[in-house]
Amino acid sequence: MRRTALLRIIYLLLLVFVASAALLPSLLGDVRTGLGPYASTVAPAAPSVGEKGTIVLGTSPDYPPYENVDAKKGGEIVGMDIDIAKFIAAQLGFKLEIAAMDFNGLIAALQTGRVDFVMSAMSVTEERKNNVDFSSTYYVARNTIVSRESEPYETSESLGGKIVGTQLGSTQDLYAQTLEGAELKKLNRIPDLIQELKTGRVHAVIVEDAVAVEMTAANPDLIMTFLPPGNSKDGYAIAFPKGSALVESFNGALEEMKASGQIDAIVDKWFATGREPQADSFLNLNFGILKGYIPYMLKGVYVTLLFTLVSAAFGFIWGTILSLFKISGIRPLEWFATAYTSILRGTPLLLQLFLIYYATPQLFQYDISPLMAAGLAFGLNSAAYLSETIRGGIMAVDKGQREAAMSLGIPYRTMMISIILPQAVRTILPALVNECVALLKESSLVSVIGVQDIMRRASVVQATEFRALEALLFAGVIYYVLVLVLTSLAHLLERRLRRSD
């Protein structure tokens, strides 16, 4: 009797769970359209060239002037690569869609069919060639040493015995390995390099010409020295999935563009972009650069909040189901819930996030959107923790409450929902608030799969302005204010729930 009732309540909760999962895409669809050009973040399921006449470009828009988010113009992705891609797509009669993602995810995106081609200032390496096909090169960049004006390094020889920063996996990273006696420090992003250089943790950094120009313009205390051009096969090329039919037609279009001078025109347009030198102020911070970016960064609040809400609600419902499994007295359910909790708590959240985002299209042929993947990963993870909290809360409710309800003939489901859970939730409310605060802050992890949350937007501003600290500090303030608001709301709720005491 009790068991069938329990099964029924579990069944009901599962229904809610499935329904919310079904609603998720439409909810999240909202977010994407709310982001303007970032609507294109998500490629259509199994992109098929020709059929719809649309091709999807994958790029990591944090590398001006090749590609970056023009935050001041509503977040459009612009740059030299983008202009070339648009030109070729138009030549070949395709409609172009742009999918923004982390540079490290680009190859995976090609392999899983998430995008049709990648232009992201990507140079040709043997390793990459094993996994993707490349077009001919369209631009060759010069390696450039950037150092502090107060401690200049102007030749590659002078870097012997010094600490040299490079961007992990970049062509300059490979070049720097040939420097004799230099100790290399490899970082993920250009803004990180700038900060390391400015604080003196590295003596110099080696980046390519375009980046060096922007870095020195944004940071007047830095100087640059161009190194002689290297081998032309080290240039940038367009990447395709292995065996893509597009390679040939793209190569043809590139040749035409080179012959007609179109490529040079685009290069000139983007490299000529001057930048007014900015005066450094107190503590070498210049919050003036945030001007124009503030609305852009604040839009991330909506994404972060929605994301937190979705994963918290999902986590709570699924966590409740798991906690009921754990106290059900039905062996397989107990075993499942325990194993689930053990695995989800025992592996890093970041790993779960990557797995869900990258493995879902490959295993289930379903092109999961970044926000949905993130909501799922955080919800599943949070549920593992919450199931223990909720179980504790249910156990803490006086056994007599259950008996009183049973003696009144109240069915199991009604008893759980209206009598036991409200009392359990009241007991565990502080723990639930903790979980929400943690989720809100952990949500910054989603920036790694390209969701436009507060943290991701801060990175975009860092990358476009070539300044590391200001946007981060501003993001920190936003997070802190959000947590303050959240905790005050929780206090109000707690007071309301305690009115019966």
Partner: protein, 240 residues
């Protein structure tokens, strides 16, 4: 009305009920007394299956509770139970405590459930507490609300499990008065109690349990004047 045949209950290795056979007729008021650990409460809790009997048969109005196919929820609606520690729902007001089960289990309309609750609260003398939360009530008041909550389901049988044991002495009387009033309405009741005076005045029959057996089953006058068994005599010597 209630028939119990060879009822046993075992917790682990400990046999708490060692075969109890009895029947209670409609309108009968039974007081269960006996030393602690004699199985009084367990017996009572078996009657609405809060404890599952190990063996034996319980039937209530021809419905066999111990049959696996019996809808126990339905049966429990007809059996009210009042606990030693009240077990009011702390997150609901007195009114919500009383109207919750009629509305959610029997589908009584809100207005009717409310009217009924007000009438019941008047009957237990707490009409002014309808909108209070249980935490604002004294023990005696809580127990009276608990009785009203049970009565709201219009049960045919009421079970009381030491209803005054957790109360301060000055509150015992108000609760016993309510129970006694209920007895006079012809309700079938089984009461586990340590209040000998009350048992003598209110009950039609005394069940004396000792070591899991129903040792004596006699009218109060006879039980208190001339107990049959040695064990009952010793028990009465201690408590009177």
């Amino acid at each position: 009305m209630i028939n119990v045949t060879e009822l046993t209950k075992t917790f682990g290795k400990h046999q708490v009920l060692k075969g109890i056979t009895t029947s209670v007729r409609k309108g009968e008021v039974v007081a269960l007394i006996g030393p602690s650990g004699s199985g009084k409460s367990t017996f009572l809790r078996c009657l609405n299956l809060l404890e599952t009997p190990t063996s034996g048969i319980i039937t209530i109005n021809d419905t066999e509770l111990t049959n696996r196919h019996t809808n126990i929820g339905k049966v429990r609606q007809r059996i009210g139970m009042v606990f030693q520690h009240f077990h009011l729902f702390p997150h609901m007001t007195v009114m919500e405590n009383i109207t919750f089960a009629p509305r959610r289990v029997k589908g009584v309309p809100a207005g009717a459930a409310r009217d009924k609750a007000i009438a019941l609260l008047e009957r237990v003398g707490l009409a002014d507490k309808a909108d209070s939360y249980p935490s604002r009530l004294s023990g005696g008041q809580k127990q009276r609300v608990a009785i009203a909550r049970s009565l709201a389901m219009e049960p045919e049988i009421m079970l009381f499990d030491e209803p005054t044991s957790a109360l301060d002495p000055e509150m015992v009387k108000e609760v016993l008065a309510v129970i006694q009033g209920l007895a006079s309405t012809g309700m079938t009741m089984l009461i586990v109690t340590h209040e000998m005076k009350f048992a003598r005045e209110a009950a039609d029959t005394i069940y004396f349990l000792d070591d899991g057996r129903l040792v004596e089953k006699t009218p109060p006058a006879q039980f208190f004047e001339e107990p049959q068994s040695e064990r009952a005599k010793r028990f009465l010597e201690k408590v009177l």
